[in-house]
C-alpha cells in the first residue's frame, strides 16, 4: 500500500492534477474563514458592477485627510474627464458652431476648454444634430464644470429644524485619505453579478457546492456500478443477464435526456443540491458497471480465485478479498472520472434551469445560467461568466490529469 502511494505521488501528471485540485479545495475551505459574508447576499444595487475596490465616499469624508501635493494630480483629474473621445466631440461641436478648425488644438487642454466655455451654448441649434447628440453635449458640459477649478468643495448637512444647509466640512483638492483608515471598504475582485452579489464569494461557495454534488454523485454512481458489476461478473448466469438487461436499457436512453426528464418531473420544490447529486448518480452508473463487470469476468478464472474456492471460502469472501483488491485501482480511477462528469452534468442541468433551487445555494452551473440569462456575455461583463468557466475547466482538467497519472502508475505499459 505504501509502495503504491509512493509510486502514485512520483507520477508528475498525478502530482500536477492533484495540486490544482487541492488548491481549489483548500480555497473553498479556507476562504469562508476569512470572508464571512453570505454568498447570496445582494450587496449591489444595480447590475454587474465592475471589479475593483469600492470605498465608501461618506466614510472617506469623515476620515482624517492627509495633504499630498502631487504634480500629476490635476492632469489625472482632467484626463479622467476629458478622454480623446470627448475632445474630438468638442472639436466637432466647435467646428459646427463656426470656429475654424485650424484654430482648435485638442491637445491643448487649457485653450480647448477656454474656447468651449466661451462658446458653448446649449440652446444653440446646430444643423443636422439629433436630440441625443444635443443631450450628450449638455452632459459633457455639466461634467466639465469645475474641472479646472482649484478650489475644494464644501460639505453641508441639512439642519432638520431650519431646513438650511449648514457647513460641516470642506474637502480640498489636495486631500487624500488612507484607505485602510476608512471603515467601509469592499474589495470586489470580480465585481458583482446581475443580482448585485459579490461574484468572488459567490464563486467560492458555488465551487464548494458543485464539488459536493460531484462527490456525492460520483460516489453514488461508482457504488452502484461496483456492486452491480461485481455481481454480474462473478455470479454470472441469470443475475448477469438481468443486470445486463437493465444496463442496456440505461445505455440506450441518453443519460442527459433522462436526467432532464427526471429532474423536471421531480419538480421545483424538491430540487435541492443533494437531490440533484443523487439523481445524477442514479443515471450515470452504466459505464462503471460495464467496466467492472469486464474486469471481474477476466479475474474470476484466475488460479488464485480457484484456489480460494478450493479452500472453502464463501462467495462474499472471494469477491471481497480475491477480486476487489485487483480492481481497486480501476475503481478509484472510475470514481475520479464520475466526479468530473457529475460536475459537468450539474453545470449542464443548471444552465438549462433544471439545477438546484436558486434560492438556497449557488452552484457553478447556476452562475453560468444567470450570466447567460442576463446577457453578461453580450454586454462584455466578463467577470460574471469567465471565472466560472475557468473554475469548471480547471476542476475537470485537474481530475482528468490525476486520472491519467494514475493510469500510468497502474498500467506500466503506458509509461513513457
Amino acid at each position: 500500500m505504501k509502495h503504491t502511494l509512493q509510486q502514485v505521488f512520483s507520477s508528475p501528471r498525478f502530482v500536477v492534477g492533484f495540486s490544482i485540485f487541492m488548491f481549489i479545495v483548500l480555497t473553498v475551505i479556507i476562504y469562508p474563514l476569512f470572508v464571512r459574508a453570505d454568498p447570496l447576499e445582494i450587496i449591489g444595487e444595480g447590475t454587474f458592477f465592475e471589479p475593483g475596490v469600492y470605498v465608501s465616499v461618506y466614510d472617506s469624508i469623515g476620515s482624517s485627510p492627509y495633504t499630498l501635493k502631487l504634480d500629476d494630480a490635476a492632469a489625472n483629474r482632467i484626463a479622467g474627464k476629458l478622454g480623446d473621445e470627448e475632445r474630438l466631440a468638442m472639436q466637432e461641436w466647435l467646428v459646427a458652431y463656426g470656429i475654424p478648425e485650424n484654430e482648435i488644438d485638442i491637445q491643448d487642454t487649457e485653450k480647448l476648454l477656454d474656447q468651449w466655455v466661451n462658446n458653448y451654448d446649449p440652446t444653440e441649434k446646430i444643423e443636422g444634430m439629433t436630440n441625443a447628440e444635443r443631450r450628450y453635449f449638455q452632459r459633457l458640459d455639466e461634467s466639465l464644470k469645475g474641472v479646472l477649478a482649484t478650489e475644494g468643495v464644501t460639505i453641508a448637512v441639512e439642519n432638520t429644524e431650519t431646513g438650511t444647509l449648514e457647513e460641516v466640512d470642506s474637502v480640498e483638492q489636495t486631500d487624500y485619505v488612507n484607505i485602510s483608515q476608512v471603515p467601509n471598504v469592499r474589495v470586489l475582485p470580480l465585481g458583482t453579478d446581475n443580482f448585485g452579489r459579490d461574484v468572488l464569494t459567490e464563486l467560492v461557495s458555488a465551487t464548494g457546492t458543485s464539488l459536493k454534488i460531484g462527490l456525492v454523485a460520483g460516489l453514488v454512481a461508482t457504488t452502484i456500478g461496483l456492486i452491480l458489476g461485481l455481481l454480474a461478473g462473478y455470479i454470472g448466469g441469470l443475475v448477469d443477464d438481468v443486470i445486463m438487461f437493465v444496463t442496456n436499457i440505461f445505455t440506450v436512453i441518453p443519460t442527459f435526456v433522462l436526467l432532464i426528464l427526471v429532474t423536471f418531473s421531480v419538480g421545483q420544490e424538491y430540487r435541492g443540491a443533494m437531490t440533484i447529486a443523487v439523481l445524477i448518480g442514479l443515471t450515470s452508473w452504466v459505464w462503471t458497471t460495464r467496466a467492472v463487470r469486464a474486469q471481474v469476468i477476466s479475474l474470476r478464472n484466475r488460479d488464485h480465485v480457484n484456489l480460494s474456492k478450493l479452500s472453502g471460502h464463501s462467495t462474499t469472501r472471494i469477491i471481497l478479498l480475491s477480486i476487489l483488491p485487483f480492481i481497486a485501482s480501476y475503481v478509484v480511477m472510475a470514481l475520479i472520472l464520475q466526479i468530473s462528469t457529475a460536475i459537468l452534468a450539474e453545470a449542464g442541468l443548471s444552465i438549462l434551469g433544471l439545477g438546484p433551487r436558486t434560492t438556497e445555494v449557488p452552484t457553478l452551473g447556476l452562475m453560468m445560467n444567470w450570466a447567460m440569462i442576463y446577457s453578461a456575455h453580450l454586454m462584455g461583463r466578463w467577470w460574471a461568466y469567465f471565472p466560472v468557466l475557468l473554475v469548471i475547466a480547471l476542476i475537470a482538467f485537474s481530475l482528468n490529469l490525476m486520472n491519467t497519472g494514475l493510469d500510468q502508475v497502474f498500467n506500466p505499459a503506458l509509461r513513457e
Binding site: 480457484n306 478450493l310 479452500s311 472453502g312 471460502h313 478479498l321
Partner: protein
C-alpha cells in the same frame, strides 16, 4: 486377474460443451476413466486437447454438461456449498503458474492459515498453528521464520511452488490434481518438486493426477498414462505400455516428435503441413 485395488475416482461419459448453436465447442467428449487409490496417473495432451477442462471438472470447479463422476464408489454430489467443502477436503490442486496462484495483496501466511482452518483446526491457539505451519514448510525445505509476513512477490518461483506443496501437506487430501506443476520451474528445481509430491504419495497414500503436455515427465513419474486428443482419450495403459510401445498413430507421432538423447531422434518423418 481381478484388480484388487480400490477405485477412488471414476468418470462415466464425462462431457463438457462450451457455447451453443454454431459456436459449440466440445472440449471434453464422453470420457471414461478409473483412477485407483495411491496411483500416479498422467493425462497427456497438447494445448487445446481438453485436459485442463477435464481436470477442472474432476475438481468440481466446472460443471459437466453430461456424464457422472463417482467418488469412492458413490455418485458425487456437490450441490450445496457444505457438500462442496466436504469434497474439497479430499481433493486439492496445484497449478502451473506459481505467481498467479497467490493473492498478491495477502501475506503468504494467509494461505497456510486457510488450510489450517479448513482442516477444522481454526480454533487452535496461535502458537500451535505456527508449529503446524513450520512443520509444513520444513517438509518442502523452507524455513517458516524466513517466510512469515512476506508477500508473494518477495519469494522466488520455486519457493512459491514449494509453498503450494506445503499447503497440500497441511491438507493431506486423498487426491491431488497437479496441472503442469513444473513447466514454469527451472530444470534444476524440477526434481525437488516431483520428489516432494512422490513423498506425499508414499507417506499418506495420496493419489496424484498429473495434467501435462510433457510426455517425458509423464513417463518418469506415472504408473498409468492416458493420451488425450481433442477431448477424447485415444490411448490408455501403464507408462511403459503407452510410451515404449504406443499403439495409436497419434501417440506414436507425439512420442516421435519429442527430441531424444539416448535413442536417435528421427527427423525424416516430418511432413510439412500448415
Amino acid at each position: 486377474m481381478p484388480d484388487e485395488r480400490k477405485i477412488i475416482l471414476r468418470t462415466s461419459g464425462l462431457t463438457k460443451v462450451f457455447g451453443f448453436g454454431r459456436n459449440k465447442t466440445l472440449a471434453v467428449d464422453h470420457v471414461d476413466i478409473d483412477i485407483y487409490e495411491s496411483e500416479v496417473v498422467s493425462i497427456v495432451g497438447e494445448s487445446g486437447s481438453g485436459k485442463t477442462t477435464f481436470a477442472k471438472m474432476l475438481l468440481g470447479l466446472l460443471k459437466p454438461t453430461e456424464g457422472e463422476i463417482y467418488f469412492q464408489g458413490k455418485l458425487r454430489d456437490i450441490g450445496s456449498r457444505k457438500k462442496r467443502k466436504e469434497y474439497w477436503k479430499n481433493i486439492q490442486a496445484i497449478f502451473q503458474d506459481p505467481y498467479s496462484s497467490y493473492n498478491t495483496f495477502q501475506k503468504i501466511d494467509a494461505v497456510l492459515l486457510d488450510c489450517i482452518r479448513m482442516r477444522g483446526d481454526g480454533k487452535l491457539p496461535y502458537e500451535k498453528k505456527v508449529e503446524l505451519m513450520a512443520e509444513a514448510c520444513s517438509f518442502v525445505n523452507l524455513k517458516f521464520e524466513e517466510l512469515t509476513n512476506k508477500y508473494p512477490f518477495e519469494l522466488s518461483g520455486g519457493q512459491m511452488q514449494r509453498l503450494m506443496i506445503a499447503r497440500i501437506f497441511l491438507l493431506k487430501p486423498k487426491i491431488l490434481v497437479a496441472d503442469e506443476p513444473t513447466s514454469m520451474i527451472d530444470a534444476c528445481s524440477r526434481a525437488t518438486i516431483l520428489d516432494f509430491l512422490m513423498q506425499l504419495r508414499d507417506e499418506i497414500g495420496m493419489t496424484i493426477i498429473f495434467i501435462t503436455h510433457d510426455i517425458g515427465l509423464a513417463y518418469y513419474v506415472s504408473d498409468s498414462v492416458h493420451i488425450m486428443e481433442r477431448g477424447k482419450f485415444v490411448e490408455s495403459g501403464t507408462a511403459d505400455e503407452v510410451i515404449l510401445h504406443p499403439k495409436g498413430a497419434y501417440t506414436q507421432r507425439l512420442i516421435s516428435d519429442v527430441p531424444k538423447i539416448y535413442e536417435e531422434w528421427d527427423l525424416s518423418t516430418v511432413e510439412y503441413s500448415s
